[in-house]
Amino acid sequence: MDISNYLFLSAILFTIGAVGVVVRRNAIVVFMCIELMLNATNLAFVTFARINGNLDGQVASFFTMVVAACEVVVGLAIIVTMFRSRRSASVDDASLLKR
């Protein structure tokens, strides 16, 4: 199979994630879409490592996973605090700053 198909898949997953961030309302779902974008990037990294014939891309994908895990810790803390004080995880409800 042509290896560039993995790149197309990665681009499609990234786009689904990016569109999801823009159109979804629930903060948790928005966050899941961001994680999807990171995983699409991982697929691109691994594919490029295969194309270029070196290991840098595979190593990079491990770093991405670790950073994504850290992001989950911080992100869920913020979203949960938000939910507890408002009883809603909707991004649209968070509009005090718009006045």
Binding site: A40, T47, A60, R84, L97
Partner: protein, 503 residues
């Protein structure tokens, strides 16, 4: 295969800060609440001072292999780290005023748990280790010469800031909302950044800046992978510096975050992000400047103009300063597109001039209060000059420095960066920059006039007597702003000497 060799002496400034941060986490867990705040402040200030002293010791050394090939401790990198440490020191003096921070971030806003925590003085001090972690990320960001190190540094500096934005004691819902917005948009932009990293790696087969530059000059620059990589990475970096059209988070986050944190973000994050942007474009992508220069030039222009115009329409002082910081991001982008040694040198000077005035201005905002906390409504600042002439005068100096009035550091910075662009023959950007500064100046002068020449209408607004640390921060920043404005030569010369990226 041999084990990697690390040059610990050159990496020590970052390691000291990280050590201080870890120590701070332990102190938070094990030390009684009576000692905690003092100890945390001591650790934070101590590690910044120690780190700066070590940086001073090694400032004549340089190496591009301090950590294999992942970081470059070169003159420009060391200079930017020094600026970040100086600004961070002043920011910690402001953060030390714990009255701005929630006693317990986990307690619900307005709950009994929260009022009990405030009444009993159960103040948590997690903000100090978080600040130190952020500083460590900021110091790593501008010296990273490897896309993965760049990404990790970006996250190390961003993650603590997301949390710190939500720690305000008053108006907590607003603060939590700022944290949520900053987090979601920040994570979105770093995912985009990472996608760009993947494609730049796919194009060049390497994550290292120099090897990317080598493969660009070897294989030509007409690859679609290269373009995707440059565009996506630029979006991530432009988001961090707050350039239009990726600026929409800036006013919301600056308004909602606790004011000392806003000052810290506005000054230090911008310096770190511009340091990284400069290095990426100067070292890795300089031979494809025909591709990115027109785009970045256009972004610089609209950033300057939109930032300056939008600042005028704001009624909240923190939002207004946020838009002013967006305009300054536009001015700093001039240094990126100049792509010359003069452009780099003038950016280094501008960092310090802008950072000092920004920290000073936000420090003043923390002490203008009424019974419910800080007063950020611009209409209530009317006539402040009659109530507290000294603070009003100091705030006016910061605004004039933002506006670029002679005898302030801001003027020298603007002049240096405009003349760097003029030398490269980029007349269009100089003209737009001059127009944008005129618009911005109008906005700053309007606030100055409002403070001095209008009758006070609201008597509940007062300037509280600042604590010793806040007072120190305000006086240091105002003195430096004036000194670097009157005798800029020593600093300009040192910036010129240090304006070298090793490759």
């Amino acid at each position: 295969m041999s084990a990697p060799v690390l040059n610990y002496s050159l990496l020590a400034p970052i390691l000291i800060i990280l050590g201080g941060a870890l120590l701070g986490v332990l102190v938070e867990a094990f030390i009684s609440k009576a000692l905690r705040a003092t100890l945390q402040l001591g650790i934070a200030l101590g590690s910044v001072v120690l780190s700066f002293a070590w940086l001073w010791k090694v400032h004549n050394e340089s190496s591009i292999s301090a950590a294999v090939k992942s970081v470059a401790m070169d003159p420009a990198g060391i200079y930017i780290q020094g600026i970040i440490l100086i600004l961070a020191f002043i920011a910690i003096l402001l953060i030390a005023d714990q009255d701005n921070f929630t006693a317990q971030a986990s307690a619900l806003p307005g709950s009994e748990e929260e009022s009990v925590a405030i009444a009993e003085g159960k103040q948590q001090t997690e903000v100090f280790p978080l600040t130190l972690f952020a500083i460590a990320g900021m110091m790593l960001f501008p010296i990273a010469t490897d896309l993965i190190t760049l990404f990790v540094a970006l996250e190390v500096l961003s993650l603590p800031l997301y949390l710190m934005a939500g720690l305000s004691r008053r108006r907590r819902l607003l603060s939590q909302e700022a944290a949520l917005k900053y987090f979601l948009l920040g994570a979105f932009s770093s995912a985009i950044f990472l996608f760009g990293v993947a494609f730049l790696y796919g194009y060049s087969g390497s994550l290292n800046f120099n090897e990317i530059a080598a493969s660009i000059s070897a294989s030509g620059n007409n690859s679609v992978f290269l373009y995707i990589g440059i565009i996506f990475i630029s979006v991530g970096l432009l988001f961090k510096v707050g350039a239009v059209p990726f600026h929409s988070w800036t006013p919301d986050v600056y308004q909602g975050a606790p004011t000392p944190i806003t000052g810290f973000m506005a000054a230090c994050t911008k310096v770190a992000a511009f340091g990284a942007t400069l290095r990426l474009f100067y070292v890795a992508l300089d031979s494809v400047d025909g591709t990115w220069k027109p785009i970045i030039t256009a972004i610089a222009m609209i950033t300057m103009v939109i930032g300056s115009i939008a600042a005028m329409t704001q009624r909240d002082i923190k939002r207004a300063l946020a838009y002013s910081s967006i305009a300054h991001a536009g001015f700093l982008l001039i240094g990126v597109v100049a792509l010359s040694q003069a452009g780099l040198a003038s950016s280094l000077f501008y960092f310090l001039a802008y950072g000092l005035a920004t920290l000073g201005a936000f420090a003043v905002i923390t002490i203008v209060r009424d019974s419910s906390g800080e007063v950020t409504d611009l209409n209530r600042w009317v006539g402040l000059g009659k109530k507290s002439p000294l603070i009003a005068a100091i705030f006016s100096i910061f605004l004039l420095s933002f506006g670029g009035i002679p005898l302030t550091a801001g003027f020298v910075g603007k002049f240096a960066i405009f003349s760097a662009a003029y030398q490269t023959g980029n007349m269009a950007i100089v003209v737009v920059a001059a127009l944008a500064s005129a618009i911005a100046l109008f906005f700053y002068l309007r606030i100055v006039l409002m403070i001095w020449f209008a009758e006070p209408t609201n008597d509940s607004v007062t300037v509280v007597i600042p604590s010793f640390l806040t007072r120190t921060a305000i006086f240091v920043t105002v003195a430096a702003t004036l000194i670097f404005g009157v005798i800029p030569a020593p600093l300009l010369d040192s910036a010129k000497n240090f304006a070298v990226f090793l490759r």
